[in-house]
């Protein structure tokens, strides 16, 4: 009979904060970079030139249809074979960014698509600079539309970052695997690591719901349409 014993994981507790930080850092870095990729990607997708539109569309479709694990392997093993040796952490960041960037492109594009051309023209005719147009007219409206899918995407990145453990990044999943294979306490380790992911994902989720509530209570009838 299996004796459930959570204290068996005690001797591995020292490494846990570092593992959590690794997961958080990896995810944060990938989210930040993927926003940049998404901005560039959505510009490509809405460009006047068909070549750029095609490039943007191809990037989104390819990366959305290939498993993240394969992207990680391609970056980690593939680049090593053609002479570029990079660490597991860097390749995980690159792969996660490429993957999330494709989704981010679509999220941002969807947000921008909802803003009519007339608004740009109206704002410009008020002598707003392009920066002002984006700061005061475009961004507040786009944010309302994309905050929810953006939150989901952030959860996706945190969960996807678990795959980094396969290329040797010592994150929460890797910690679980170490505890499990050393002490054979897989179930306890699973529960520990699982609840950490649960807290992280639900934290983002609650933040997203909170943002929605805030936006709803602070919106005037004009912005609510």
């Amino acid at each position: 009979m299996y004796q459930f014993n959570l204290s068996a994981t005690k001797s591995y507790m020292e490494q846990l904060p570092w593992a959590v930080l690794t997961t958080l850092g990896l995810s944060a870095l990938a989210i930040l970079l993927s926003v940049l990729v998404g901005l560039v990607g959505s510009l490509f997708r809405t460009s006047r030139w068909w070549a750029l539109r095609f490039l943007g569309g191809a990037y989104v479709e390819v990366l959305r249809n290939i498993p993240l694990l394969i992207v990680i392997y391609l970056v980690y093993f593939g680049l090593a074979q053609i002479g570029l040796r990079i660490s597991g952490f860097s390749s995980a960041v690159i792969a996660l960014t490429l993957n999330a960037g494709a989704y981010m492109t679509e999220v941002i594009r969807g947000g921008l698509a909802a803003i009519g051309k007339g608004q740009f023209e109206a704002a410009r005719s008020q002598a707003m600079t392009p920066v002002q147009v984006y700061r005061y007219v475009v961004f507040p409206q786009v944010f309302r539309i994309i905050y929810a899918p953006f939150g989901n995407l952030c959860i996706g990145v945190v969960l996807g970052s678990a795959l980094a453990s396969i290329v040797g990044v010592e994150d929460v999943t890797s910690w679980m695997h170490t505890v499990g294979s050393n002490s054979f306490r897989y179930l306890e380790a699973f529960l520990m690591a699982g609840s950490i992911y649960l807290v992280m994902a639900q934290g983002v989720n609650l933040l997203r719901i909170g943002t929605g509530k805030y936006l709803l209570s602070h919106s005037t009838s004009a912005t609510r349409q």
């Binding site: 249809n65 074979q81 453990s165 897989y186």
Partner: protein, 218 residues
């Protein structure tokens, strides 16, 4: 990029890996569809405890990385229950749970798309709750559910690549084995990536076609 002769010699393994991937994802989608339908009905139940359980269920599997589920079902269950789960069973279990939480949301939105007026009309026609579902709600919900269900299949197919880490020989694992034999990583993973892309892109096109075909014009 010059393709290594060696790699293409292994086309049989690529093929069998592809078929295995398609099969296990399909199996998980079907089992997940059944489980997801049950969870979706719990989510809309009149009993609060069932609703809370269903919400917890979908949120739990939405918040746990698939990789952890594979580890959990392969090692965790084996040690805890002292049973020997083979990689196939564990992978199917993990994929089924992930798929079921996605399918629960798909089924729920499908059922909610059927207007309340139809419920009232069916109940007024002296139909029992089961009859309302069987003859009024489910047939209409199905056409709303099918297009997003292809999305769940794509997502399950992608998740199934993670089954390679517990030693289940599907497409990704086949690729890793071929890589170990031939030593060429880039070619192998490029082929694997292309296969996944072709399958999933084809499926997403099918999903788009289904969506146009089944669109309900109001």
């Amino acid at each position: 990029m010059q393709f290594d002769d060696d790699v293409t010699h292994y086309w049989r393994f690529f093929l069998s890996g592809t078929l295995t991937t398609l099969w296990i994802s399909w199996l998980a989608l079907m089992l997940g569809g059944i489980l997801g339908t049950v969870v979706a009905h719990m989510r809309m139940s009149r009993i609060a405890a069932l609703r809370i359980f269903a919400l917890g269920y979908t949120e739990f599997f939405r918040s746990i990385p698939p990789l952890m589920l594979f580890f959990g079902s392969y090692y965790g269950i084996s040690f805890a229950l002292d049973v020997n789960l083979n990689p196939f069973t564990s992978a199917t279990l993990a994929l089924t749970f992930t798929a079921s939480s996605l399918m629960a949301e798909v089924v729920r939105s499908g059922i909610e798309s059927v207007g309340t007026g139809q419920w009232l009309a069916a109940t007024a026609s002296a139909m029992t709750r089961l009859q309302v579902f069987r003859y009024v709600v489910w047939p209409q919900a199905l056409r709303v559910c099918l297009p997003p269900a292809t999305g769940v299949y794509i997502s399950t197919l992608k998740d199934s690549s993670v089954a390679s880490v517990i030693g289940y020989i599907e497409l990704t694992r086949s690729g890793l084995l071929i890589r170990e034999t031939t030593g060429s990583s880039f070619d192998v993973f490029l082929i694997i990536a292309t296969i996944y892309f072709v399958i999933n892109y084809g499926l997403s096109l099918c999903g788009g076609a289904l969506e146009r075909r089944f669109r309900i014009v109001h």
